[in-house]
């Protein structure tokens, strides 16, 4: 499709498990962002990539969270030793470059940690 694609759309896991969330940005977009949205809240910034490198990872809550974008396109958000507080919708967005102003969001991956 033409939009940002995120998989899985829903993930239920048990506390302590490892999860990976995938984002496929719009073709040609060099900037990719991960946000986290808790119920009833606005999205919170986690990390953004310009190309393959993480330009700003200041929003990652702790070292259990890690993200990669090895070829400058698809990105994977990795969460180790999941906790119940990690339950949220993880949103990915892309933009043609880092400063165009408009982000194109995917529909998100809903993570539930039991």
């Amino acid at each position: 499709g033409a939009g940002v694609s995120q998989t899985p759309s829903n993930k239920v896991t048990e506390k302590g498990k490892y999860v990976e969330l995938r984002c496929d940005p719009i073709s040609g977009h060099t900037a990719l962002y991960w946000y986290r949205q808790s119920l009833g809240q606005g999205p919170e910034f986690l990390i953004y990539f310009q190309g393959t490198g993480a330009a700003d990872d200041s929003g990652l809550p702790n070292d259990r969270f890690f993200a990669v974008r090895p070829e400058g396109s698809v990105s994977t958000l990795k969460i180790q030793r999941t906790e119940r507080g990690d339950s949220a919708v993880y949103l990915c967005a892309s933009s043609p470059n880092a400063n165009t102003g408009e982000l194109f969001f995917g529909e998100g991956s809903r993570l539930t940690v039991l």
Partner: protein
Amino acid sequence: GESVGLHLPTLSVQEGDNSIINCAYSNSASDYFIWYKQESGKGPQFIIDIRSNMDKRQGQRVTVLLNKTVKHLSLQIAATQPGDSAVYFCAENPSGGATNKLIFGTGTLLAVQP
């Protein structure tokens, strides 16, 4: 810390009426603001943006007003339609558009009554 927030969590309007959604921001250094619309189960969708060198910007049926003196932002929707029902977020870009690292407010739910 710096934050962006909304005055009204829920706004109910009649179809055809005009809607006004308000937002207060606290980071006086921010010079770029964006409104997003989020429908249930979907990612946020860009509506309109404004830079701090402007007081007003118009789009199709939407107008954003910026009052830097009182750090207030509003989104006006003309002739509100049922399809406008969604949660609306204002977002602040402290980098002035250098990146798309956004700080989102809590959101206002707009409910359009037929």
